[in-house]
Every structure is written in C-alpha cells, then in structure tokens.
Symmetry: C2
DNA sequence: GCAAAATCTGCGGGATCCCGCAAGACAGAT
DNA sequence: ATCTGTCTTGCGGGATCCCGCAGATTTTGC
C-alpha cells in the first residue's frame, strides 16, 4: 500500500509522514509532493489510490489537483487536511467529489488521534470522515436559512470576477433582467443595504463591490476560489471560439 | 533576555521555540501565544522587547497586533515570520513600522540558518533583516514602474470595501471628479480594460469589480488587508459622530 | 390535473459610474 | 518670470447598474 502526501509546508509534511507511518503500518511507501502540480504528476505516475492533500498551496491548489486526479481515477481516496474550514473550501471540495468516492476533511488543528483515526477510516475502510467543524459549515451552507443556493453562489462568483450583467447573462443563457433578479436576492442575503454615515441621512454602499467584500469577509469566497473561477472563466471564453 | 513567540500553528510554534533557543543562548525565557490577541496581552504584561510574529492568524492577525504593540512601545523589536510575501502583507508591515525601529521579515520557507541569523541580527544587533524575496516585492511596489502610489493603493482599498465614489470623496476630502480620476489611473495600472468574448466585438469587464478581482489575484490585497481596512472604516465612521 | 409558488422576461426610469474636455492651482526646473 | 508636469475640480453625456411593476413560463405540492 502506498500513500501520497501533497503539502507545501516542510514541517507539516514530515509531521504527516510520521502520522501515516504510525497509523498505517501496512503502508510500505510514502511519497511526498510539495505542491499540487507535482502531486498530480506523482499520482498519475504511481496510480496512487491514497492521498493526503493540503488545500492552499502555491503553484496549484489542492482542489484543482484533486479535481484532475479524481477525473482520471474517481475511486481515489483523498483526505483533505487544511488549516481552515472556510465555506469557500468546503463548497469547493463537495463540488468535485465524485459519486460514492471516499474522502475526508480534517483540520490541521485536530488532535493527533483524530488525524490517525481519519487516515485509517478513509484509506482502510473507505469511509467518509468530515471534521465536526467542517460539517457545521457544510450544514449551514446547505440549510436554506441564511444559506446560499447554487445559483446564488454562481452569480456571486461572477461578480467577484468582475463580469458585467450582460456577460453573466450570456454565460448562463439568461436574460439581463433575470441576472439582476438574482443579484437582488444576493444583495438581500448578504445584507448589503445598510446605511453608512448616518449623520446626514444619505449613504449607501456600492452594492456590487460591497457584496464581494462581505462575501470575502464571511469566507464565502477566498483567494483559491477566485483562482479556480478565473481559470473556469478563461476556459469558457476559449471554448466559445470553436 | 526574553522572547515572545506569537504563532497559531503548534508545529511552527515549537519549531520557532527550538530555533530561538539554539540561536540565542542568552535568552532565558521564551513565551508563547497562539494568536494576536493573547500575544498583545503577554507583550504588555511582560514588557516584551523581542517578538517573533506570524502574520495570518485568526482572532487577530499579526499586523494588527504589531501595530498596537508598537504604539505602546515603539522600540520593540519584531521579527515577522510569514508563509507568503504578498504585497498586501509587505505594505501592511512597512506602513506600521515606527521611525528607526528594528524589525525583520523572513519567510517560513527560509532555511534554518537564515532564520537563526535573522534572530541574532534583529534582537542582538538591532538591525533590520528583510528576506530577499520580500525585498523584491518591496522594491517593485515602490518603483513607479508598475508600482502603486500610496493614494492609488488607498482608493483600491476603498472600492474593495464597497464604498461609492461619493463616500470615498467624503472620506478623503476630495471632489467626486478627483476620485474618479484616481480610479481611472488605477484601472489603467491594473490593466482592466481588456476585452472579453471578442467574437462579436462587444465585451468589457465591470471595471470596478474587476479591479478588485485583479488586485486580489495579484496579492495586492488579501483577506487580512480587507479585515484591517474594514476596521479602519468603522473607526472613521464612529469618529465622524463626535 | 390544477392551483400556488417560484422563476424568467420585457419595459421604464432614477442613480451611479466612467470618462473626455477644459480651466485653475501648485511645485519644481530652466 | 516662465514653462512644464502633476493634481484638482466642474460640466456634460453615454453606459451601466439597480429595481418596481406586470405578464409569461416553469416548478412544486396536493
């Protein structure tokens, strides 16, 4: 049995290495990659079936790497090991996990034992293990109380990328007005209508930009989500030509 | 001699602890804090004169903590130890360092020796030590070729927060038109005028939102910068009432 | 199968944004 | 003193955004 570790921080990498060795004595080879790009390469080359993956790496983040790996071999077991439980990450992961695949999401702040237990559960038992805190975010994002629909999320991404209403309409095959309707919902949910500078009555935010700001501060989107979205956009733009 | 370590990751914290012990035998007490808030508290309580500070912590990031610490005792020596050399961080740091203070900025990817050397240089010799890569970013941001003025940077922050032109004008005591002029410069420098969807000619970005997106992707601003800016904004809003 | 609810769409209009043009203010150089 | 470059401000106008209204279409629930 082999395990591939994809993690850019050397300290964390060696810690992971030790944890894998301790939790999985049946593992006889541990590979290491220091970013998503070489991680993909190693996974392809060794047909890795067991991967521990950091999110937030330079050169190629964990979600992108996992996406291409899963596209080639959907039965790969991947444990995501991240510092944060940002909704952007959680959404990003659950968006790419294939039907019936075994995966996990545990935080770096979790205890030694939790990590080792997760390693065994996922790699040996093919079970899904989601950290409690992450699970909370996942629930909240799905629960429609103060949660965001898939469409709302998409339009959020689009304005974060700086697309105009017209572009968004074209991209999703909608009319201009429909896009604006969705925007209105979004503004409502992000609570972007608050007044500012109340001393002389008038003072609003620029709704569009404010929405992005609030979404960033609430961790609905983050750098890596933006990066992925930009890549998707360019792909779509390229595809339109053919 | 005492050293205070402010770092949220336990692994990195203990690594730092060891490095400090090894590099500074004359140090007889090493304090540790797991975020900016308790870091501030410990610094105040122990009158710490030597601090190693992570940027990017939850609860209170390194720059905010450093700002209040330096406000109280401007001769404190602080070594910033960070994963990234984002321009947002570099600007954030050099914005708050007091006149003539000794400080350093080294990356976590630096070698053991570099870290230890920096520790000695800053804490014992009161010298400034800036990592090469960080220095590069600093230079580029100052060099007016493809670099950003202080005013341009400020207006970038303002639109990232979601302020309207009118609000920005009021905040900086400018006319509406001047704000828009600055915006134009900004758009120019961020190269935001590119066409998209060229197949039928028409296709632009929403300049304002796109500018923020590009700035994020170029690491000119990031989560922590936005967080600080939001705090500043609220402070300003509060101050206007009195 | 039908009514209720949600979503999509066009129209119209007020507010804001983006920006060309031109006149004044100010600093530094020759 | 003059000139040049940068920064500021006002005016005007076209494009875009934001959104109320109302009818059409789709989805949902029973």
């Amino acid at each position: 049995m082999e395990v591939l570790i994809v993690e850019d921080d050397p300290l964390h990498r060696s810690y992971l290495h030790d944890a894998v060795r301790a939790a999985l004595p049946e593992c006889d080879l541990v590979l290491e990659a220091e970013n998503g790009k070489v991680g993909e390469g190693l996974a392809r080359q060794h047909h890795s079936a067991h991967i521990v993956m950091d999110l937030q790496m330079s050169e190629r983040n964990g979600i992108e790497a996992a996406r291409t790996i899963w596209k080639e071999r959907p039965d790969t077991r991947i444990l995501f090991w991240s510092n944060y439980a940002d909704e952007a990450y959680v959404r990003g992961v659950s968006r790419i996990v294939p039907e019936g695949a075994a995966y996990g999401y545990v935080l770096k702040s979790a205890s030694d034992d939790r990590l080792k237990l997760a390693l065994r559960s996922i790699f040996m038992e093919s079970q899904c293990v989601i950290d409690r805190e992450v699970r909370g975010v996942q629930q909240k994002s799905l629960g429609h109380v103060n949660g965001f629909t898939e469409v709302e999320y998409e339009i959020l991404i689009d304005i974060a990328l700086g697309l105009t209403d017209r572009m968004i309409a074209r991209r999703h095959n909608l009319s201009l007005r429909s896009v604006q309707n969705r925007l209105q919902q979004l503004y409502e949910k992000l609570d972007v209508y608050q007044r500012i500078g109340e001393d002389d009555g008038e003072g609003r935010y620029n709704l569009r930009s404010r929405a992005v700001a609030v979404a960033l501060m609430r961790k609905l989107i983050n750098y890596s989500a933006l990066e992925r979205a930009e890549a998707d956009l360019n792909e779509w733009l390229g595809g339109k030509h053919s």
